[in-house]
Amino acid sequence: MEYETIAAISTPMGEGAISIIRLSGSKAIDIADRLYRGKASLKDVKTHTIHYGKIIDPKTDETIEEVMVSVMRGPKTFTREDVVEINCHGGLVSVKRVLELVLEVGAVLAEPGEFTKRAFLNGRIDLSQAEAVMDLIRAKTDQAMNVAMGQMEGRLSRLIQSLRQTLLEIIAHVEVNIDYPEYDAEEMTNRMLKEKAGYVQNKIKDLLTTAKQGKILREGLSTVIIGRPNVGKSSLLNNLIHENKAIVTDIPGTTRDVIEEYVNIRGVPLKLIDTAGIRETEDIVERMGVERSRQLLKKADLILLLLNYNQELLPEDIQLFEAIQGMDAIIVVNKTDLEKKISLDEVRTLAGPSKVITSSLLKEEGIDELEEAVRDLFFEQGIESQDMTYVSNSRHISLLNQASRAIGDAISSIEDGMPVDLAQIDLRRTWEILGEIIGDTVSDSLIDQLFSQFCLGK
């Protein structure tokens, strides 16, 4: 059986420095070769070999990324198809760029678990093996994602269900008019129909907007580190990502702009954001940074507020507490290796329900405790995503796009003065597609449904 060539980023986001883009399918080598510049064409290399080269944008010839590419011809591969793995070293942005190019030149985005599914369909592994592999992957990297999925999908499916109910009511009303033309049920006019369909359309659009905004599951909970200058924000970031990404100095105001890093803390995907210390400042560049920090604060899902153990609480600190009222936050009192000048009781009062942790980043103390606090907050209390990101799964997004088109078609046939039962075709289709999102209707992509619970890649 011939399947399309699929591609996906197959290292979990934020874990490790290398990201791999994996392609599988009969066109895998061909597609990779169109983007690859190296010593030899990938079509000519031996199977199961790895090659250094560059990925270029074929339209502009611009170099996107330096890469190592492994070529493995089927059937001795995981999926039994031709497999190419592009190992990228750069950050998330360039990895995404490479993926986009791969998709542009002919691959389709793999759905979660699709590589395993291929292996399964091609007879490489049986169902129980497939499930075991998936369980393993899931357990190792992404327990958080699944929990998050559970939460998100709970909300998503409630929303979809209510939309479907609305649609069903409209449809039923039109059906009554059709199947019982002589009965004295109120006739659904085009104006009523358009109004109601418009409502559904807007709701679908809203959902799609949230999908574009956040994508929490791929990009992590947006976690903002705040605190007065020089309390150790950049040190905290570096500690959490085990790398010296942010510049740390003893000069207050070192971090001028926002630094973002992806990190997986005990299974919780975070997008860590280090900010410029918040205080009134004269320096223009710094001030711009401060302004952005304030904005980020509004959109954050989780706040890490740093205080200085070695200083009394200042009015700026208190302002920060006020600014994060009602948000999920963890308070970190840093520099415990220095003399205590802060009143922890006062801090706890200000913190309210938020957990307070003490640390010495210099001595790498208190980090475990912080990581645990993050995990507990996520799993036990369930941080809610601020930007209402319900939709993150690419299957959902693609179905929502289809639903949006279908309801749009319904509305345009009403506007074109087409008979109501024709608009009905698209209304029903919308209803069915929405049903597919929550697994309520059956279509020929059914097999995908079994696997949609599995996460991306191997």
């Binding site: 449809i171 033309p181 074109d416 697994g439 020929d444 097999i447």
Partner: protein, 631 residues
Amino acid sequence: MTTTYLAGQYDVIVVGAGHAGVEAGLASARMGAETLVLTINLDAIAFMPCNPSVGGPAKGVVVREIDALGGEMGRNIDKTHIQMRMLNTGKGPAVRALRAQADKFDYQHEMKRTLENTEHLTVRQGMVERLIVVDGVCKGVITNTNAEYRAKSVVLTTGTYLRGKIIIGELSYQSGPNNMQASVELSNHLKELGFDIVRFKTGTPPRVNGKTIDYSKTEIQPGDDEPRAFSYETTTFITEQIPCWLTYTSPETHDIINSNLSRSPMYSGMIEGTGPRYCPSIEDKIVRFNDKPRHQLFLEPEGKNTEEVYVQGLSTSLPEEIQRKILMSIPGLEASKMMRPGYAIEYDAIVPTQLWPTLETKKIKGLFTAGQINGTSGYEEAAGQGIIGGINAACKALGKDPVILDRSQAYIGVLIDDLVTKGTNEPYRLLTSRAEYRLLLRHDNADLRLTEIGHNLGLISEERYQAFKNKKAIIAEEKARLASVMIKPTEEVQALLKERGAGELKESVTAEHFLKRPEIHYEDIAAMTPPEQPLSAEAAEQVEIQIKYDGYIAKQMLQVERMQRMESKKIPEDLDYFAINGLATEAKQKLSVVRPLSVGQASRVSGVNPSDISILLVYLEQGKLAKIAES
């Protein structure tokens, strides 16, 4: 046991001559199978125990489909109606529906005569009590007069007669519809054979003498002026039509009913059968929709040579005394004389998931069931199953491949697929909304969908087949012509558009493109650029519909393709679902009962969810299904 005598040998025996039975018998005989039709009462062939009408949304399309397959219902009603109307004319082509008021006596007589004059067909009065079953194969039937008839296949179309029981208020007695003899032994025998039986219920309103109705208090409901016909063969039309009349219940009606609910067998617990939601009795309507101030009642004459009038919308099983009070509370019926009371009837039906899509039972080979016995309700639903049951019984006897219509081919396909795949927990009625490909299943294109099949079976005459092919060719030619002829933005054209309230034409377009405008009709185009030979009204209608709704039709075709892909993945009949790991227990059980023939059908079984289907698909794609079935 008393001894029987061998009374005859046939290819096919049809038990029952209701709407299912007559179609089954005629189709079988016309296919050349020696056919016997047995019925309890020869005077009630194609009898309409309820409303004297044929057609309506979905049902009307079924009549056309029966006609395209070479069946009789369409021709028969064309000859015997008292009025016809096209419904839903304000809506799209897919839901337009023809409905006829029948002269119910003429309808029976005409059908009886057709049966009597059909070659290879014997009609006989007789009450079947048992089936002859040898090693799981049905070999014939035995009647209460000890006649033993042998056949290669048997079709049961016993309608509402199985252990029928009539209920009027506190009165109840064993009976078929309209005081006909009930069929008790056969029902018990089916249970003995191991069939699952359900008990359903339906009802009918009282009839009144039309002479005693004051029509001035009602609204007239005339037939259409334009001549109409169900059959593609009909060329002579009945011109003299008789109107129906519309009146409403009054507040007094509602009071009478509300204060006598305790005497309604529906609420006193006397009725055990499940009634249909879509066809409720008047007491049901008033209880369930008590905020509705009044309900419509249509007064429908039962025929030309009778004064009896059917009061549609007033189905009831309240005591006779109350029925008479109700009638007198209705505007126009104050002085009316009731001729027969309404009643409820309970009857046995077999659970239809026990059937293959051919309507053959899974339990007993060579035994088919069709019509209300399968849990449906309605004449058209019965007739649609009847023709398929008859065709497949004859195919079996003659050693031909069976005919199964899929959901995109015919409402009859939707009906049978629903029955055998999902079963039904109330009397099943066809609705247009049950069809997912409604735009393809139009009443105007039933011939294009099914004539070929009817012809292959030998049910369509050569003459009619030639006419059909001719029509098809003309449609294709005209469509091709319209795709090449240009319509220019002349003053004439702009004037027409303005008159229709449509936007101006900016540049020349093909006639095809022009016809896609909602305001423009084929006649307009034919006037601007006439074809060599003027098209018949039917051909013109096809051209217009096919072009105008082309986009929508294409969209549905795409859906059909998706369905057919799943439909083409076959499942072996004897697959052991319990041997497939990973299937949910509910799915294993349901699938073992239904035993779907394809993954498509499996996916429609209730209680089977997408992941079960995925697992099935996976096994299928790996060829494991075949192996499991073998071992």
